[in-house]
């Protein structure tokens, strides 16, 4: 049993739950994207932002230290992380499932990333159901997504049916009217058939799609679960002050595996392409018993050549 909210009361509801913090939602500008909402009327739930919510949990560039080379005893001054409480509204199930996977990397038992941890603890996840699937490239139906959210909205025409997925979520909708409904599961035209890809590393189906690849890294930039990063020191013109920062990187770039002296371990583009897909569907599963792909299809949709790894996998020869 869930609750129901009339659409005309949505802004009022969002303003209440995000009070004292930021509301993040899809906003239509030149393109549809998640951003901190300034005017609630900008919120747009038509379609799905091509860029996932991961940037709010580990930004594309994150300062770690201020560098001061004149201070020999303390050249590193740790950057203080400031984060307001946030509410993400309008995220899709793929977005939030992406976080479940990233938790395995950034909140492991031994090591936790400070920014990511703080962001996870201070963000409420208010999702919206995909009915119908927002993109022809979506294939999440094949990926066994979990019902992971604080609240989940389903569009019922003039109202939203809302289901809570956490205790926190329950308290947010406690005053709303009860309603009996079952949210329909997401239906996708696109499917990923074979999931055990371990035996097909040398299958010729890889070649056709790989031949189109430009190694541009758009697939990893748009992926819900790709957060590989580089750590870079950069000095100002005075060569005394600067920053050490984290910056998103991509396993699709040639220099991703380059070591001092110039050796590159994944020199061939096809090895980098396969590495991305095997990481998503085999290596991650071996470690954490789940796929690292949420089936959002963003890697396909964002690709300038529309390279579609599901086509590769669906066409493996037995």
């Amino acid at each position: 049993m869930g609750k129901v909210l009339e659409k005309k009361r949505l802004n009022e509801f969002l303003s209440k739950v995000s009070k004292g913090g930021d509301l993040i939602a899809p906003v239509k500008r030149d393109t549809l994207r998640f951003e901190i909402v300034k005017d609630f009327n900008d919120i747009c739930l038509e379609g799905r932002p091509l860029f996932p919510v991961k940037k709010f949990f580990s930004p594309a560039k994150e300062d770690l230290f201020n560098l001061n080379l004149t201070n020999k005893n303390k050249p590193f001054d740790e950057e203080k992380i400031k984060l307001k409480p946030r509410v993400i509204f309008g995220g899709r199930l793929c977005d939030f499932n992406g976080l479940l996977k990233l938790d395995k990397l950034f909140l492991s038992e031994e090591y936790q990333d400070d920014y990511y941890k703080l962001a996870r603890e201070n963000t409420l996840l208010l999702g919206i159901n995909c009915d119908p699937a927002p993109s022809e490239y979506c294939f999440c139906e094949s990926m066994d997504l979990e019902k992971y959210y604080d609240l989940f909205f389903h569009d019922m025409g003039d109202k939203y049916y809302i289901e809570a997925g956490s205790e926190k979520g329950k308290t947010l909708i406690i005053d709303l009217e009860d309603y009996d409904f079952t949210i329909p599961s997401i239906k996708c035209e696109k499917k990923l058939y074979t999931k055990d890809i371990s035996k097909y590393y040398d299958d010729s189906a890889w070649d056709k799609e790989n031949d189109k690849c430009l190694s541009c890294g758009k697939c990893t930039a748009h992926c819900t679960t790709c957060l590989c990063f580089d750590m870079i020191d950069e000095l100002e013109a005075d060569v005394k002050h600067g920053k050490r920062f984290k910056e998103w990187d991509s396993c699709q770039f040639l220099n991703f595996t380059e070591v001092a002296g110039g050796a590159i371990f994944r020199k061939d583009r096809i090895n980098r392409f396969k590495h991305r897909i095997y990481h998503k569907l085999q290596y991650f599963r071996e470690k954490f018993d789940m796929d690292m792909c949420t089936g959002c299809g963003r890697c396909i949709e964002s690709c300038p050549r529309l390279i579609d790894f599901t086509e590769v996998i669906n066409n493996f020869k037995d």
Binding site: Y111, L235, T257, G261
Partner: protein, 266 residues
């Protein structure tokens, strides 16, 4: 924070080759940093304003730690210019180590190529202090040419207390030592696998052929340890750079039992 570094003072710097130096760093007294007690682990060493680079522990006690640093990239070319009294910024230790306690009683077959000898020096230094815990120690080290030979001081001692086999790939005619690939020397040693553990570290091509040689000599894959070099940025299994076939060299390695990484793809 995850990436905070601690300053270690350089107390000794010893020239090894034209571009390689052995640094001894003193453990800061107040810091509660855990220095490794088993070799194989690595630290990320920082130069503020330039960046970080990973280094295997080359020797270590509770008071000091040693790194072998070759000027090859931006960070290392700066590091080799530092002098005793200067500070290095360290975070770590990270990664797996050679399970030295578990290996007690075995004979060790230690095979290194070039700078890959550095982490293995950590093993030999460890064994030096606990000689009675291990049976025979056979060390095979290959360098490109006589000028590239590292740890010459140690080699004198090791030649006395271990079965040391030193070789260079090429040398001028006047060179009196052994010339030839290290794999060849290993093969000609006639060793069998009985009660033995092999440890291999060096360039990828050298690792590949050494394993083939060890296989021919009867070594099982779980009797071989390999240590990989990869680009390691974070050291904690997050940044993705060092991953091979789903294994983070920084966290699941850099020391792997070979049966765990056999057949992995780049």
């Amino acid at each position: 924070m995850l990436f905070n570094a601690t300053p270690f003072r350089i107390v000794k710097k010893e020239k090894q080759t034209e571009d390689t130096y052995l640094f001894r760093l003193e453990k800061p007294k107040k810091e509660k940093i855990k220095l490794c007690y088993e070799p194989g682990e690595f630290f990320l060493v920082s130069v503020p304003g330039i960046g970080e680079a990973p280094f295997s522990v080359c020797a270590c006690s509770k008071d000091f730690i040693e790194f072998n640093i070759r000027g090859l990239g931006d960070v290392t070319n700066h590091l080799i210019k530092l002098k005793p009294g200067d500070y290095l910024w360290l975070r770590g230790p990270y990664g797996t180590s050679y399970p030295m306690k578990e290996l007690k009683g075995n004979s060790l077959v230690i095979i290194g190529g070039g700078t890959g000898v550095a982490p293995l020096r950590g093993v030999l230094k460890y064994v030096e202090e606990r000689r009675a815990d291990y049976d025979r120690v056979h060390a095979f080290f290959g360098f490109r040419d006589p000028n590239e030979i590292l740890f010459k001081k140690d080699m004198k001692l090791w030649n006395r207390i271990f079965d040391l086999n030193l070789t260079v790939d090429k040398a001028p005619k006047s060179y009196k030592g052994r010339v030839g690939l290290v794999t060849k020397v290993v093969e000609e040693s006639g060793l069998n696998n009985k009660n033995k553990i092999a440890m291999v570290c060096g360039p990828p091509i050298m690792i590949k052929f050494t394993i083939q040689t060890l296989e021919k000599m009867g070594f099982h894959h779980d009797q071989i340890f390999v240590s990989f070099e990869r680009r390691m940025k974070c050291g904690v299994g997050m940044c993705g750079h060092c991953m091979i076939s789903g294994k983070y060299v920084c966290k699941d390695g850099p020391v792997f039992r070979y049966n765990k990484v056999k057949g992995i793809r780049e």
